[in-house]
Subunit: 379 residues, 2 copies
Amino acid sequence: MLEFVFHNPTKIVFGKDQTQRIGEFIKEKRCLLLYGGGSIFKNQIYERVVESLKNYGKEWIEKGGVKPNPVLSFVYETIDLARKEKVECILAVGGGSVIDTAKAVALGYFYEGDVWDFFIKKVEIQKALPVYVILTLAATGTEMNRYAVITNEKTKQKFNIDSELVYPVVSILDPVNTYTVPKEQVAYGCVDAMLHLLEGYFTQTYPNTPIQDGFVETLVKVLMETTQKIFESPQDYDSRANFMWATTLALNGLTTAGIGSFGFPNHIIAHSLSAFYDLPHGETLAIVFPAWLKYKFSEKKDRISKFGEAIFKERDPEKVIEKLENFYTSIGVSVRLSQVKIPEEDIPALAENAYGFAKIRNLENYTPQVIAEILKLAK
Amino acid sequence: MLEFVFHNPTKIVFGKDQTQRIGEFIKEKRCLLLYGGGSIFKNQIYERVVESLKNYGKEWIEKGGVKPNPVLSFVYETIDLARKEKVECILAVGGGSVIDTAKAVALGYFYEGDVWDFFIKKVEIQKALPVYVILTLAATGTEMNRYAVITNEKTKQKFNIDSELVYPVVSILDPVNTYTVPKEQVAYGCVDAMLHLLEGYFTQTYPNTPIQDGFVETLVKVLMETTQKIFESPQDYDSRANFMWATTLALNGLTTAGIGSFGFPNHIIAHSLSAFYDLPHGETLAIVFPAWLKYKFSEKKDRISKFGEAIFKERDPEKVIEKLENFYTSIGVSVRLSQVKIPEEDIPALAENAYGFAKIRNLENYTPQVIAEILKLAK
């Protein structure tokens, strides 16, 4: 195991009927309540939240309308509002897009320049508003980590920040809040969380990490099994709960602590697909990842066997990739560019765009040529 | 999964050559440097620590002499010293005994009454000095948790505290610092950490917890495998590192979050053995646990099978217990009272003592009769 620092200060409050406790945890007086497309009004989440805020004497303003693949222009708008209203904290009620927007606003609030500077690593993050979370969509893990991903619509860049200042202070994870999440969102969340685990597992530079390997394999198995159970019974508490906790643990730093340097090449390529075609992040990952495994086949085949043994009781690496594709297909997720109508002639432009992101993430060996070859394996 | 709150704010700094960074992490000016029997003078740990403290302009006083199964009288003494010297934090350099003593001193410092009041749950903990840790013995997990265990020599009680105020602020885990830990200590650490995992695994009240199960099974496997490797090559970095991180994760709240209520019955019984005979905690656990499994056999046999399948690829529950005993024996740990010369006629008094602790831990069903029956299975 290589050296690491692990420090995750987010308090997780997990379980049924925890949503209405939010007021108890917020220390500040004035909140910005941020949400997405308005599903929180349909399933009583909104009522529970505002009643709790009232009970604890909080003041708040509201802003809805965060969209999937959240965009920079919305972040700018929300920073202006937050400043005008002098809020002291942000309460994100939603999924990854709402939380990531909250994180971006939280640090843009104190910065006089362009908040995008943080995403292109032009300036260092110094200060952020506290962020609180009520999670309504299990997928990204942002509720317990130091990352946020925002898309700059003008430059077509989907970039991330990484700072200990944006760990949410408290995240409430109530599985009941996800009962109405539709199948395709569950499937995308499953793929996303799997890739959070597997990018590290397949790119790590330090080999002897049985704890991290076992944790990744456990979480991947739970994600796959619970996704299938949720498809059968969308209101099964245990399946929603196990799925939710697995997605959170998939990117909270635990499974990558000590594995040495690692990259997120599949995310980089998938982000380009999302930025160009506004496709769901989970779907683009399911298209890219099997192709990446094929591209890296000779280098990674032992690791693919180990993974296959743990997940599918299958050691033949070619069959492991096939079983993985079959799993994605079984939960209704595309595994080829053609299935989402991306023509082959778009590959060079996509590869060029992804390379821009690769450079920022210190993955310069993912040249446009390499990325194009990977994408060709996903035709 | 049942509802839970998970909040572990300890910063872990893990790896080679991290010891000398301690000064960088301590915010306060005046420290009490606490240690045990003096092994830190033999392996350069002491020099590295004080040089770092000097470099960062810290002042400190020192107190050594914490013994295994740390005692209350030493805690009293150290509180007096800490007050007289007006220290602002405690730096524990050692294993579980040193760290638990540091935690007890940290909260006794601010309390005008008897610090033992916290252990018998007579008063609520309100305030504690910050505790920093340099771990030199991997076993108890106290370096990343909210517990401390102290023995009251007068009353022969080995009791614990449980408070979020005693999470260490920073714990440095440098596997190299454990190269000189002798085999028997490694073996006891292995048993102790295994039981931290398995008490929850075998007593949990909520059944559907595949994440926690997988994490427990992973960590138990790693503990067993690395113990054997350390026996062969005491200075193998990876084995020491994986063992160390496994012992820390074994009791940091992660594997028990969501499993419902659970007990530590084996610890309770084992604590009595340690309190009466000053036997190593790990050894008493290895004696008690197989007997407990036999006592609970009909109720737990499915769980024993699941455990056996994951660890030994063996589903026959009787054979699983036998393999567990064989493992303990293979690493030189006793599994019978007779091996440590505890006569059968002592069982009633031991059972009576353990029952006192059981009541405090809300395990009233562990009557003296029940405990005596379990101990008879360990003759």
